[in-house]
Symmetry: C2
Subunit: 502 residues, 2 copies
C-alpha cells in the first residue's frame, strides 16, 4: 500500500498540507484520549478545569485548521502533479479546511465549553428528570449551534440544517432524508403491527438473573475476541453512556452493566466492536492523513450495525453465542439458541433509543430528525421539545412520554453536547449495513451456514476489502457503488426486516 | 485569599505573562491526563502513536514557554507596581522561563520521544532482566540528558549535575548533598546494625494471606478517606509502577496489588495520598499560575513521607488501621496493633528501593545519586552501571546484585524516562518530614495521643497552614524557616530514626 505523502520537490504545497495534517492528527489523538477520560473516568470536581483545558485544545486545533497559509498551499497543491491517492487526500483536506474556516475560534471554544458544561450537569439532571435545570444550560448550547449552522450555511449556500448534516454525511441533504424517511413512515407502522401480531403467538423464555458483573465482563471480552477486536490496541471500560472513543491505534470502547440483564451490555458491546474494528483496520500507511480516516458517520454506523444487527442477532451467530452464555452464567432454558434468537429479535415499541429493536429504531430517528431540523431552522424553541417529543412518540410508536424527560428528550448525549445533524446517520447506517450483507450473500451464497459453523472470515474479509481498507479514498456514493454494485438502495433494509421478522 | 492576577492597566507586562501561564496550565492539564493514561491504561500497540502525540504536545508547550515576547514582558513586569503575591508569581514565572529557554525545541521533543520509547520497552525488559535490550534505548536517553545538562549548565553557570538538580530542588547543590549524605553515610551502617540487633530479639507474626484484591481495593479506599483524600476530585487506579499523576483538580493515584501482601499496596497508597492531599489543597485562587503550584519535589516528597513514614507507621496510627484490616480481611493474630507496628518498622536491607524501610532507604538514594552524578558529569558510561550498582549495594547494605538488573539498576522508571537529578529529593523529603513533625509536636505536645484517638486534624491543619496553602509563595529555605522556625536541619531525621528504632 503506498503512502499519501509525496516528496517536497514534486509537490511543495501538498507536502506542507500533509505536515499540518500530521500535526492535527497528533493533537486530535490527545483530544480523543482526554475526551474519553472525561466520559469514562473523570471525577465530578475535575470538570471545570477539564472543560477549560479541552476548550484550549479545541481552540488550538481550530487555529491550526484556519492557518491563513493553508489557502495558498491548497491553491498550489491543486496545480501539482498528484497521484490518485494524494488527490483523494487533498479532496478530504479541502473538505476539512472548508468546514473549519467557516467558524471563528471564539465560537468553537464557546461551543465546546457550553457543551462540556451541559453534558456534565446532564449526568445528574437526567437521573433527576430535571428538564428545567437542563434547559438553563441547553439554551446556550442551542444558541451556539444555531450560530454555527448559520455560518456554515453562509459558507456553503446550503440550508442551516443541511450545512450541519453535511459534516456528518457529506453530500446527503434533508431532501434526501425526507424522501427516505417518508418512505419508511409509509410502511413502518404496518410492519410493526404485523411483526407484533406474529410474535404475539411465539413462546419466549426470559433469562433468569442475576448475571454478576464480573461474569458479564468476561463474556463481553470473549465475544469481542470472537469478533476480532485487538486487545493489544484497545480497551473495554465502563461509562454511563456507552460510546466508542480513542484513536485508530488505541480504540476505547465503553459499556454499562446491569446485573438483571446481560443482553443490553453484550449487544451494546458487539455494536461498539463494529465501530472498533473499522478503526483498527483503517489503512495503516495512510493514518495521520484525512484519506486514512473512516469515511463518514453513516458508514461508521453501518459497521456497528453490521456487527450488532446483521451478524449478532442472526440465527446463525446466536448459535455461536449460546455456549459462551452457558460457560459464563451456567445453563438455563432461555439460552437455547432458537429461544435466544426469538428474544433478540423481539419487537417492542419502547421509550429508549439505545434499547430499541431494529424494526422500531427508525421511528426514534425520524422523531429526532424532525425536531432537531426544526430547532436549527428556528421553527421551534428548546422549550417546545417535550410536547413535540410526546406528540411524535404517540404518533409513531403509540407511547406516552408526558412528564418523563428522563426517558424522553433528555436520554441522548447528542443535543446535550451540541451535535445536531448527526441522528440521520444512524438510519443511513442501518440501510448501508443491509446493503453490505445483501452483497456479501451474493458473493458467499452459503454465508449463514459458514457463520453457523463459526467461520466469520467471509464477513470480516468482505468488510475489510470493501470498507475498512478504503478509508476516505472514495466519497460515500462511490464507496457504496464500488462495495455493493449499486447506489444506496433502501429496499435492502426493508427486505432484510421482512425476511427476518415476518 | 487574593488572586495573583492584576489588571492590565497597572501592569500590562505582568498581565501578558499571566495569560500565557493560564494557557500553559491548560496544556499541562492535558499532558498530565494523557501521561497518566499512558502509564495506567494504554494498551501496548497504542504506544507509538501516543509517543508521537505527546511529543507534539511537549513541543507546543516548549514553544509557548520560549515565545520571544516573554523576555520583553518579563523585563516590563520587573518595573511594574506588583504586590507581594504577584512578585512571588513573577519570580516563579522567571524561573520557569529560564529553565525552558535553555533548551531548543528539537531537544525537548527528541528527549520526550526517546524517554517514552525506553519506558515502554522497559515494562517488558525489566521483567525479562534484559539489560542489553534496555541499553539500546537507554544510551540515547542518556545522550540527550547529557546534552540537556550541558545546555542548562551553560545557561546557569552551574555544573552539569547541579543544573539538572536545580530544576527539582531549586538552590540545592551537589556540594550540599555531599555534606548531608556524607553525614548519613557516617552513622547509617552503625544504626542499621544496632536496629537489626535489637529487632533480632523481637517476636513478629507475619500476616497470613491470601488477601483478595477486591478487599485490598476497599481497604485502600477506606484508608484514603480516613486520610482526607477527596474522591470527588481524584481517583485510585492500578499500574505497574505506582505514581501520583493528574492535576490539582483531579488527582490520579495508582497502586499495584499482590494477593500475598496487602501492606505494600496499602502503605504505597498512603504514600501517594500524601502527595495527593498537597495537590488537592493547593491555594485554589492561585491555581493556573506558578505561585499556586507545589513548591518542589523534595517538599512534595515530605508530604508523602509525612503520611507514610511519620504518620502511618507510628504506633498511634497503627492502632487506627488495625480495626480496618480486621473489617476487610477478618481477624488474625498478626493484626494486633503492637505486632503490626513491629512489622511495619522492621529494618531489612533489601534490593528494591520502593519496598525499602525508612532506615535503609537513604542508602538506596546515596547509591543512585553517586551513579547518576557520575553519568551526567561523563565520568562513567551506561555500560558501567551494573558493576557500580553491585559494588555500592555491597558496601552500603551488604547485598549482592550481580546478574540481577531486574531488581537492581532496572528497577526505577526515573533514568528510563531521562529524569536525572531527581533522586536526592527523596531523602531531602524524609528530612523535611521529620522536621515538620518535630515542629508539630512542639505545637501539639500530645500529638500522638490525639492521633491514637483518631483525631488527625492537628496533623492536617498544620500541613495545610504551613505547607499546602503556601504554594510557591516562598522559596524552599524560606518556607522551611517559616514552617518550622529553622532551616533544614538533618538532625531531626536522625533523632526520629533513633527514637523510633532504638
Amino acid at each position: 500500500m503506498s503512502s499519501p505523502l509525496l516528496d517536497d520537490a514534486r509537490a511543495p504545497g501538498y507536502a506542507e498540507l500533509t505536515r499540518v495534517q500530521s500535526r492535527l492528527y497528533r493533537y486530535s489523538h490527545i483530544a480523543s484520549i482526554v475526551g474519553w477520560d472525561r466520559n469514562a473516568l473523570m471525577p465530578p470536581r475535575g470538570s471545570e478545569a477539564r472543560a477549560a483545558a479541552e476548550a484550549e485544545l479545541s481552540a488550538l486545533i481550530h487555529r491550526t485548521r484556519t492557518d491563513p497559509r493553508l489557502a495558498q498551499w491548497l491553491a498550489a497543491a491543486e496545480a501539482e502533479p498528484l497521484d490518485d491517492l494524494a488527490r483523494a487526500n487533498l479532496r478530504e483536506i479541502r473538505r476539512e479546511w472548508r468546514d473549519a474556516n467557516a467558524l471563528p475560534e471564539s465560537l468553537v471554544e464557546a461551543k465546546t465549553l457550553a457543551g462540556a458544561r451541559c453534558e456534565h450537569a446532564w449526568r445528574t439532571q437526567r437521573a433527576a428528570n430535571d428538564w428545567r435545570g437542563f434547559l438553563e444550560n441547553f439554551r446556550e448550547v442551542l444558541r451556539l449551534a444555531r450560530e454555527e449552522a448559520q455560518r456554515l450555511a453562509d459558507d456553503t449556500g446550503l440550508s442551516r440544517y443541511d450545512a450541519l448534516m453535511d459534516r456528518f454525511e457529506p453530500g446527503v441533504r434533508a431532501a434526501d432524508i425526507d424522501r427516505i424517511f417518508g418512505d419508511v413512515k409509509a410502511w413502518l407502522p404496518g410492519l410493526v403491527s404485523r411483526v407484533q401480531a406474529k410474535q404475539h403467538r411465539e413462546k419466549v423464555i426470559a433469562p433468569t438473573g442475576p448475571f454478576p458483573v464480573p461474569a458479564q465482563r468476561a463474556l463481553n471480552a470473549d465475544v469481542m475476541a470472537l469478533l476480532g477486536f485487538d486487545f493489544s490496541a484497545g480497551r473495554l471500560d465502563e461509562s454511563a453512556h456507552p460510546f466508542s472513543g480513542g484513536v485508530p491505534e488505541d480504540v476505547r470502547l465503553t459499556t454499562r452493566y446491569h446485573e438483571g440483564d446481560f443482553a443490553r451490555s453484550l449487544l451494546g458491546t458487539i455494536h461498539e466492536t463494529g465501530h472498533a474494528r473499522y478503526e483498527q483496520n483503517l489503512p495503516r500507511a495512510w493514518l495521520g492523513q484525512p484519506v486514512g480516516a473512516a469515511r463518514s458517520y453513516g458508514v461508521h454506523e453501518s459497521q456497528s450495525l453490521s456487527f450488532e444487527m446483521q451478524l449478532a442477532r442472526s440465527r446463525a451467530f446466536v448459535g455461536l453465542l449460546a455456549p459462551l452464555l452457558v460457560r459464563h452464567f451456567g445453563g438455563q432454558p432461555a439460552f437455547e439458541p432458537d429461544n435466544l434468537h426469538r428474544l433478540w429479535t423481539r419487537v417492542n415499541p419502547g421509550l429508549i433509543r439505545v434499547d430499541a429493536d431494529e424494526v422500531t429504531y427508525p421511528a426514534h430517528i425520524i422523531l429526532r430528525y424532525e425536531i432537531e431540523r426544526a430547532l436549527i431552522e428556528g421553527e421551534i424553541e428548546a422549550d417546545d421539545i417535550p410536547a413535540l417529543w410526546d406528540e411524535k412518540m404517540q404518533r409513531l410508536l403509540g407511547l406516552d412520554t408526558r412528564g418523563n424527560c428522563r426517558d424522553g428528550c433528555m436520554q441522548d448525549v447528542h443535543w446535550t453536547e451540541g451535535a445536531f445533524g448527526y441522528f440521520p446517520s444512524y438510519t443511513l447506517g442501518a440501510m448501508y449495513a443491509a446493503q453490505w450483507f445483501a452483497a456479501m450473500r451474493r458473493a458467499t451464497p452459503d454465508l449463514d451456514a459458514r457463520i453457523a459453523a463459526g467461520e466469520l472470515a467471509p464477513v470480516f474479509d468482505w468488510l475489510r476489502d470493501h470498507i475498512w481498507s478504503q478509508g476516505c479514498l472514495w466519497e460515500t456514493p462511490e464507496l457504496v457503488l464500488r462495495a455493493s454494485g449499486e447506489g444506496l438502495n433502501p429496499r435492502h433494509f426493508r427486505a432484510h426486516l421482512e425476511a427476518r421478522y415476518l
